[in-house]
Each structure stands twice: as structure tokens, then as C-alpha cells.
């Protein structure tokens, strides 16, 4: 690898190029969704249900319509087919208003009178699928664009089934019966929210049958299909705001109570309509992480061979299936056996429709939940059996290149072994050496492995990306892509790839994200670790074409063959030192297009190490030392990779020890940032080291693969395994709050 500082030829790959977006963001010059305005734009607001399941009996809108400045008042009955006359979660839409000012919106909203007739509701995913549960949704397909068949045929799963998965190989029952060491437990994972700084916001305009939605939207392709399904005669176009907000999955999809509501108001008034969420709406009307209940049974031989795994998952998808329940289940089903080589495996999982606030995409969908359960479980099995904790797991990891027993592709990554070696060394260097004083603070150490794949591709799903490079006569290069820079650094990393491949200076490269008017085919946009990996590959292909075109044009000016020439510093150079400036070679502009397709999702693993300090008298648990060793293929920009790893640790700490949107019969108790605990730098580890492991993924640009979501699954189990080590108690419900630790220790003393 070349040095990480800027080389003489400008920033290349493998170097810490400064982020293209940093300057405008730090200076406050960036304009986000909530800064957008249009000529004639109306503001909008929504009257939301305070009940979790009810029939909307009546809505009186006259008084609201008479308020000064109000342009339109619509009710649930005016929303697209499928919404129906029932509200199905706290925060669901009863009515909505568009007006000239925010103040008029507020006055009008409070003038709307309505009657709700309460209905029986269901909130536990395992109860929701039973025959006697109230039916939440008679039309579960309406809210989600077709992206995979829904399977709903599990035995015993009758009512409110969003999706169902099962897998079986070997003989799990016999495997468990024969095992020397068996451990069974049930794990519960929290409803965590992304808590993006920029709240949800969309600006909607109709132009004839074109529905244009300007919003931060990670999965542009899916969002357009969903809107076209809700508004059958329209063509939907998603546009980027001037600067996108963050996503972490929170901005992947259309939200039923946001874009479609604004679209109805915009059509009604024939004017642009902007609808912004406040923080409570962000918590209750978007999509948090799916809470899950996960039963795990595992069996091992006397000498530590893990032979059998049984995993049973119930996920809470909320009232409106959006296709994400399917991803939760497939991740829960496949990831355990992509990491562990077992002879016998049985998986069953259901995603249940409930009257809780909606669930959606969140960094490491499903895999974060199942990895927490699995890595907790195997740590506990090893402790109870007396196995060496790390060696037990390492010896049962799959070998690179082994066929995959459940999903299609081979396990191509060298896997977590190098991460383990590198991480262990670093952890030994930086972990504390407690002096054993009697301060009441006990230390514990935990390890966990986990990973996620780059791209949603599979043998049944071809993923594809295109990129178009336009070299202008002035020597500047524009890369048109299907990406969106949601803070992950797409603009910067893709520019580094283009600069490295073409030899054009990084500072002269501009990356453009998706644009409905650009003719770029890209299946999804920026989700599922595909931006650097897949879109980056398309950029690289286009750059190769552009470079060879420049070299063949340069032959006329230089005394060398085209393949002896190189592009560098804004010119094409021959081996003898002769050179020709790009401007000489480009009359109008040169356009080169690159396209990549894949049916294989490549895995990326991390092995993470945590040290915690637990105050036995208060239960206060601090993550004091942390090492994230992560196989990223190749780090296009090492500093940005470290940023991804640090962010994963922060999200993982919230899942492990802090955060949960608490619902009581579907009614939120802490849907604000005062009561919902969010981590700050104070909750980050005192010492945090990122070990970037590079294994050269052949299918990725310069060997790179995704890092955003593969880095989150190991975090929470590494931390809670460390808590187990410190206090001798295994917690099976996350988050493990200080209070839980305190009360468990009290109980242990009695």
C-alpha cells in the first residue's frame, strides 16, 4: 500500500484525501432537506393518532379549512387506496393540512376535530401471529414495492404474517441430543432509532403525472417503485436535496406518513408542498430497528466441536410491511452459518405485523440482532463447558472458500482469522491493567465476531450499477453515479477511485449523485454497502475506458504506443518524458460509461474486543477499551474507514447498553431526545483502536468492499460478553442498562 499522505500526483486511493463535503458542512454552508424552499411552496402538518389501533369514525375539517392561509385539508380517506379507515399505530395519519405558513398549519391542525373508535390491538410479535390475534392489516402488500416474494406459510403462523423463513440441514434434533454440551436461551433485542440529526423532510411537486419528491433517500429505486404503486398513474422521481442528511438505513425507504401524505396535499393544491417531521414523529412515524425475540439452542462435542445450531426468530415489523422483515429474517437465517461450520442447522423465523410503531431499515438489518444473540450464546456455552472462549469460536469458523450451506455463493473472504490475530495483539497492547484495588470497580473482557455482505445480490437477485465519466475540455472530470452521499463519504471515495484510475487530479474530480434526468442505471442507490464496492467498480470501469481513450488520442501527438502511455497531472505522458495536455486531446468532452453486475454478495467480517469497567455499587458500566479489527478488503480512504468503524461502535454501544424506544401497548414513553438515551462522545470508549485488515476483494475496486454495516454486528456482543466476564451474569435482554446490572448483582448477593 502506498503512503496515506498525499502523493506528488495528488490524492489517490489508500490515502486520507480530505472529504469533499467537509468544508461546506463545517462552515454551515451546506443546505439540507429542511432548508429547501420553492416558489409558491406550502408547509404541511399531520394530525396523528394517539392510539395504536382505531377506526376513524369522523373527521371535521371545515374549521381548519377556514383558517387564514390554509390551502388544503385532507383526511385519511383522501390517502391512496390501502390506507383504509383504520389507524394502526401511534403516529399514524388521521388528517393533514397544507398552508402558507407554519403558524397557519399549527392553527389548522388544532382546529381539526375527530372521533376514533378504539379497536383491539396486538403488540407482541409471537402473539400477533396466532389465530386469535386481531387482524392488523388485511392488505399487507399495499405499502411495499415488490422486491421479493412474501412467504407466509409457516405452521402455527396464522394471522398477521409479514414474512416467514425456514431452513433445515443435517438433523438438528439428533445433533442436540447427541451433544455433550448443550445451551439454550432466549434473547430480546431493542427497538432502537437512528436519531439522525436532520429530521425527516420531503418536498413534493407534481408536474402532470410526474411526482417529484426531493428527499434524502438511500434506496431511490425502491422508493420510486413504492410511490408508483401508491399513485398508480404517476411516474415517480426522487431528487436529492442540496446536501443529504445521514441515513444509517433511516432514509432508505419511503415512509407511509411522509411522502405520500405530502403528495396528496401537493396534488390537491397543485403547489409544491414541504412536510417536515418533528423529533417525536421521527421516533414514531418512520422506522426503527426491528425488535426481535430469538431462541437459540447450540450443541457441542466434548472437545469443542460445534455440531448443532437451532435459531428461532420473531421480529416485530409494525403495521405496514415494507419488505424489511424479509431482510431481517434472511440475515438471521444465513449469517450464523456463514460464520460457523455446523453439521446440523434448523432455522425458523417470522416477521409479524403488529400495532407497534413501524420498523424499517437500520444499519446491519437483522444481522445486528442475530449476531448479538449468537455471540452471547456461544460465549456462554464455552464458559459453561469450560472451553477457551476465543479458541472455541475460532476453531468452528468456516474456512475461506467453503461452499455455503444455505445461500448460494461460496464464503469468499479469508474470514475473521486475520482480524482475530491483529485485533488480539492491539487489544493486549492497550487494555487496562487494573491494580486490583478495592474501589468496587470490576473489569471484564469480551470478544465477538460478525459480519455482513456487500450488496443485496444473490443468485435470485442481480444487482447492477452504472457510472458515467465526463471529461471536459478544461481537464475537469465529472462522475455521474447512482450514489448519494449520506455522510459515508461517497463523493470523496468515488473521486479517489476516479482520480487513481484516470490519473486526473483528485481536486479536478466532481462526483454527482443520482439524478432523475441523468441516464444512469443503478438498481438501489446508497444502501447495503454497495456504494464504494459496486458503484465504485462502475466508476473504475468507466475510468479505465476513459484512460485508454485518452491514450489512443495521445498517440498522434507522442512517439509511443498507446499502452506505454500514462495519464498524470492533467497530461498524457510518454516513457521518454514527452507529454500532451488533456486540453489538447479533448475538444468538447469525452464520455465513458462503466457498468457492473453481480449475483454474489461478498461477506466482510470483523472481530471486536471490548473492556468494560463495572461499578458494582451503582451498576455503572463504562466501555473503557475497544478494538475494532475489520476486514474491509482495501481501504480507499483509511480515515473514512476509521470513521465508519467508530460510528459502528457508537451505534453498537447504544444497542448494547443504552437505547430503546419504549412502548406501552404501542404508546411511546420516551419519543424525545431528553428521555431516549443517545450516546455522546462521553459514552465512547476511553481508548478505541481501529485495525484495518486488507484482504484484497477481487471483485471490488482496488480490492475494496463494504464496511458500514459489516462493522456493527460484533459491537454489542463484544460489550455484553465483557459485562458477563466482569460480573458473572449473562444478560439476555438488550440494552443491558446500569440498572439491570445493579439489580442482577443485588439479586446475586441475596
Amino acid at each position: 500500500m502506498s503512503g496515506r499522505e498525499c502523493s506528488d500526483d495528488g490524492w489517490s486511493v489508500g490515502q486520507n484525501a480530505p472529504r469533499k463535503d467537509a468544508r461546506r458542512k463545517v462552515r454551515g454552508a451546506a443546505r439540507y432537506g429542511t432548508d429547501m424552499e420553492r416558489e409558491g411552496m406550502l408547509y404541511a402538518g399531520v394530525v396523528r393518532s394517539q392510539q395504536s389501533h382505531a377506526c376513524v369514525e369522523s373527521v371535521e375539517t371545515e374549521a381548519a379549512a377556514a383558517v387564514d392561509g390554509v390551502a388544503a385539508v385532507v383526511t385519511r380517506a383522501d390517502l391512496p387506496e390501502g390506507y383504509g379507515d383504520r389507524v394502526r399505530h401511534y403516529g399514524d395519519v388521521i388528517a393533514a393540512v397544507a398552508a402558507e405558513s407554519r403558524e397557519a398549519v399549527d392553527v389548522a391542525l388544532s382546529a381539526i376535530e375527530y372521533d376514533l373508535d378504539s379497536l383491539e390491538s396486538v403488540h407482541d410479535p409471537r402473539e400477533a401471529v396466532r389465530e386469535d390475534a386481531p387482524l392488523v392489516q388485511e392488505y399487507p402488500e399495499f405499502s411495499h414495492a415488490y422486491r421479493h416474494p412474501r412467504f407466509t406459510e409457516g405452521t402455527g403462523y396464522v394471522q398477521n404474517v409479514d414474512d416467514y423463513h425456514s431452513a433445515d440441514f443435517g438433523d438438528a434434533a439428533a445433533g442436540l441430543a447427541e451433544a455433550e454440551h448443550v445451551h439454550e436461551a432466549t434473547y430480546r433485542t431493542p427497538r432502537t432509532n437512528h436519531c439522525n440529526l436532520d429530521r425527516h423532510c420531503c418536498l413534493v411537486e407534481w408536474e402532470d403525472d410526474t411526482l417529484r419528491v426531493t428527499a434524502t433517500m438511500g434506496n431511490r429505486g425502491h422508493a420510486e417503485k413504492t410511490l408508483e404503486r401508491l399513485f398508480p398513474d404517476c411516474e415517480a422521481e426522487i431528487e436529492r436535496p442540496p446536501t443529504a442528511g445521514s441515513s444509517f438505513g433511516g432514509r432508505s425507504l419511503v415512509k407511509l406518513t411522509l411522502e405520500p401524505v405530502a403528495a396528496v396535499l401537493a396534488r390537491e393544491t397543485d403547489r409544491p408542498v414541504r412536510l417536515d417531521f418533528d423529533r417525536e414523529e421521527d421516533f414514531t412515524a418512520t422506522g426503527s430497528r426491528h425488535p426481535t425475540v430469538i431462541d437459540v439452542a447450540a450443541g457441542a462435542t466434548a472437545d469443542g466441536d460445534l455440531t448443532t445450531l437451532i435459531v428461532d426468530v420473531a421480529a416485530d415489523t409494525g403495521p405496514y410491511p415494507n419488505g424489511v422483515g424479509h431482510i431481517v429474517l434472511s440475515s438471521c437465517q444465513n449469517r450464523p452459518v456463514e460464520l460457523y461450520d455446523v453439521e446440523n442447522y434448523r432455522f425458523e423465523g417470522v416477521s409479524a405485523i403488529t400495532n407497534n410503531t413501524p420498523a424499517g431499515e437500520y444499519r446491519g438489518i437483522g444481522v445486528t440482532q442475530v449476531t448479538w444473540a449468537l455471540e452471547s450464546h456461544l460465549d456462554e456455552l464455552a464458559r459453561q463447558a469450560g472451553f477457551e472462549l476465543v479458541e472455541f469460536r475460532r476453531s468452528n469458523w468456516v474456512e475461506a472458500g467453503e461452499d455455503h450451506p444455505v445461500s448460494s455463493g461460496p464464503v469468499a473472504s479469508p474470514g475473521p482469522r486475520e482480524c482475530l490475530t491483529r485485533g488480539k495483539e492491539t487489544f493486549a497492547d492497550i487494555r487496562s491493567e487494573p491494580d486490583g484495588g478495592d474501589s468496587g470497580v470490576v473489569y471484564g473482557y469480551g470478544v465477538a465476531a460478525g459480519g455482513q455482505v456487500s450488496t443485496p445480490a444473490s443468485d435470485k437477485n442481480t444487482d447492477y450499477s452504472e457510472a458515467k465519466l465526463v471529461l471536459d475540455a478544461d481537464g475537469s472530470l465529472v462522475a455521474r453515479t447512482g450514489a448519494i452521499d449520506i455522510g459515508q463519504g461517497a463523493e470523496t471515495a468515488l473521486a479517489q477511485i476516479a482520480a487513481a484510475e484516470t490519473g486526473i487530479d483528485f481536486d479536478r474530480v466532481t462526483v454527482e449523485g443520482y439524478d432523475p434526468t441523468a441516464d444512469i442505471e443503478d438498481k438501489y442507490g446508497s444502501i447495503a454497502n454497495r456504494t464504494t464496492y459496486l458503484i465504485g467498480s462502475a466508476v473504475q470501469r468507466a475510468a479505465e475506458d476513459l484512460t485508454s481513450e485518452l491514450c489512443s488520442r495521445a498517440v498522434a501527438h507522442l512517439d509511443s504506443a498507446a499502452n506505454d502511455l500514462t495519464v498524470t497531472g492533467g497530461r498524457v505522458e510518454a516513457p521518454d518524458g514527452d507529454a500532451v495536455a488533456l486540453e489538447t486531446l479533448v475538444e468538447d468532452s469525452i464520455v465513458a460509461t462503466g457498468r457492473v453486475e453481480t449475483n454474489t454478495a461478498v461477506p466482510g467480517y470483523g472481530v471486536h474486543f471490548a473492556e468494560v469497567a463495572v461499578d458494582r455499587e451503582t451498576g455503572k458500566t463504562d466501555v473503557t477499551v475497544y478494538v475494532a479489527a475489520q476486514d474491509v478488503g482495501y481501504a480507499i480512504n483509511p480515515t473514512m474507514v476509521e470513521g465508519q468503524l467508530e460510528g459502528a461502535v457508537q451505534h453498537g454501544i447504544e444497542f448494547a447498553t443504552l437505547s430503546e424506544l419504549q412502548l406501552s401497548e404501542g404508546i411511546p414513553e420516551n419519543a424525545n431526545l431528553a428521555d431516549y438515551p443517545v450516546s455522546s462522545p462521553a459514552e465512547m470508549p476511553d481508548r478505541l483502536a481501529c485495525e484495518i485488515v486488507e484482504t484484497n476483494e477481487r471483485s471490488g475496486p482496488f480490492g475494496a468492499k463494504g464496511v458500514g454495516t459489516p462493522s456493527i454486528p460484533p459491537v454489542a456482543p463484544a460489550i455484553t460478553n465483557a459485562i458477563r466476564d466482569a460480573v458473572g451474569v449473562r444478560f439476555t435482554t438488550a440494552p443491558v442498562r446500569d440498572e439491570d446490572v445493579f439489580l442482577a448483582l443485588q439479586e446475586g448477593e441475596q
Binding site: 392553527v107 388544532s110 372521533d115 451503582t618 451498576g619 443517545v678 446500569d738 440498572e739 445493579f742
Partner: protein, 292 residues
């Protein structure tokens, strides 16, 4: 169902006298705005509605600290950050510790001492140290001035003795003698900038190896912040030892009645209270020159 949400009238009086007059004249429900760090959130959520707002945040007469005659006077709109930066916070350590642990820097720069006392949230950090100092609040209206002990001002869960036409203008307390006294504030919070689960302020005077005077104040354990006479009386007159602190701290249970809420269960808070009181006492005793 419907919620009437009218925009309140807004007044920014130019003097304290002007503010008093406005409070006297206003007929509807009036809220005084100081730092706005709690009030504005409640407004936005629709939990508080008012016909008028009287914003006193820019009245210089109400802001700042002064000391003299062994007494400190804190203006109502003095911010947490102002107090933490003042020499009084160095001298009375628990004040600085309580202020610096409140929420985040933005809140400390805007949130005010007077606003906190009037809001009377039973989980605020600033109240227990002031209770330990036997602080007195000064209140004024068109009808005149009055003073009363902070403990009498706080009458219940988010309730005070302040009348609708009255303005809290400041809080004052005697400064503890620098020799032989020490203080400390200890608390638990789930996240560093979040709500306090339980907080314990202590102020200790040590004389000849015995506890001469002990004040213990707690937050988030009852309807209001409270003192713990049980702990105080268990220690006063006893020799300065760790055992004495441990034993006395357990008595705190007699003076608290915590509720289950989002910060923690009552059981957890009862468990925390004794530990935090003991730790706070140990630190305060050490600062008082006591030899544990």
C-alpha cells in the same frame, strides 16, 4: 378530540419593575421565560400552554453573582455556566460539580438557576446543593418583596410557592467557612448529558476529628429535592470514620420516596441513594480536612 394551541403574547420587559408590572397587569396565564431550556421543550410538545410569555432573560439586574458579608447572592437569570465559572463554585465545590454535570454545554450556557428553581423538577441537580446551603429565595411583585427558605418555596412535584404575579429574583446563602468544611456532589445518569437518576450533595464541617455539622441533599428521590435529616443526625457528633459514613448513609432510606420513571425504578434509586450519599460524604469529609 382537538387541542387548542394559540400563540401566546410575548413581552420582553426593559426592567425588573416593568416585568413586575406586566405580571400584575396580565389577566391570563403567564409564564416567565428565563433560559427557556425546559420551558421551550414543553411548549413544543404541547405540555405547557400560556396566554403570555414574559421574557426576563435579558434583564441585567437579574443576572450575576455577588458576595459580601460572608454571603453569596445569585441573580435569577444567572446561568449554570456563569455559576460554575465563579469563584463561589470553587469554594463551594458541590455547586460547581452539580452545574458542570448538567446536560450539555449548550444547556449550561442558557439554562438559569432561577428558571430551574421555579420549574421545580424533582430531578434537577442544582437544588440539593442549595438545600444544603439553607438557601433563601427572594421574590418580588408589585405588592413588595418577600424572602423564604428554598425548602419552603418547593411545595411539591413541580410546584412552588410562587404566586402568579410574583417574580423570583434571586437566591442567597451563607458561604461555608473555608476551613474545616467541604462539599461534594455525586450522581448517576444513564448517559453523560441525560437525566440524573439520583444525585446527592453533601456539606460537611469537621471539628476535632468529629462531624460538627452535616448537610445532605438529594435529587430525583421524591416529589421535590429533599434534605436527609436521618443521615445528618446519624453523623453529627460522631468521630470521622468510614464506618460512621457507611452506617449513616444507609439511613437515607427514611427520607426518600422515589418513583418508578424513565430514569429508573424506585428500587434502583433506593439502592443508588445510600451509595451516592456515602461517596459524596467521603469526598466532602476529605475536602473538609477530615481524616478517614
Amino acid at each position: 378530540m382537538s387541542g387548542e394551541r394559540a400563540t401566546p403574547d410575548y413581552f420582553a420587559p426593559e426592567s425588573v419593575a416593568d416585568a413586575r408590572r406586566r405580571l400584575a397587569e396580565e389577566e391570563g396565564f403567564v409564564k416567565v421565560v428565563a433560559g427557556g431550556q425546559t420551558l421551550m421543550l414543553l411548549f413544543r410538545q404541547g405540555f405547557v400552554q400560556a396566554d403570555a410569555l414574559v421574557d426576563v432573560s435579558r434583564l441585567p439586574e437579574l443576572s450575576g453573582l455577588s458576595t459580601g458579608d460572608g454571603r453569596a447572592r445569585v441573580g435569577a437569570t444567572t446561568t449554570y455556566a456563569d455559576l460554575a465559572a465563579h469563584e463561589v463554585a470553587d469554594r463551594v465545590t458541590m455547586l460547581g460539580e452539580a452545574c458542570n454535570g448538567i446536560a450539555d454545554r449548550q444547556v449550561r450556557n442558557a439554562g438559569t438557576i432561577g428558571g430551574a428553581l421555579c420549574h421545580a423538577d424533582p430531578a434537577f441537580d442544582i437544588v440539593p446543593p442549595l438545600l444544603c446551603l439553607d438557601a433563601e429565595v427572594s421574590i418580588a411583585s408589585e405588592d413588595g418583596h418577600r424572602r423564604l427558605p428554598l425548602s419552603a418555596f418547593l411545595v411539591g412535584h413541580m410546584r412552588t410557592d410562587l404566586g402568579p404575579d410574583e417574580l423570583l429574583e434571586g437566591v442567597a446563602f451563607d458561604l461555608p467557612a473555608p476551613e474545616q468544611s467541604g462539599s461534594a456532589y455525586e450522581k448517576h445518569a444513564a448517559v453523560d448529558d441525560g437525566w440524573t437518576t439520583v444525585g446527592a450533595a453533601t456539606l460537611v464541617t469537621v471539628s476535632d476529628g468529629t462531624f460538627f455539622d452535616v448537610r445532605v441533599g438529594l435529587t430525583a428521590v421524591a416529589d421535590t429535592a429533599v434534605r436527609s435529616p436521618a443521615v445528618e443526625s446519624a453523623l453529627v457528633g460522631n468521630p470521622v470514620t468510614e464506618d460512621a459514613i457507611e452506617a449513616a448513609s444507609e439511613e437515607v432510606i427514611a427520607d426518600i420516596d422515589p418513583l418508578d420513571d424513565l430514569s429508573g425504578s424506585a428500587e434502583y434509586k433506593r439502592g443508588l441513594a445510600g451509595t451516592l450519599v456515602a461517596r459524596s460524604l467521603a469526598t466532602a469529609t476529605d475536602r473538609a480536612g477530615g481524616d478517614l
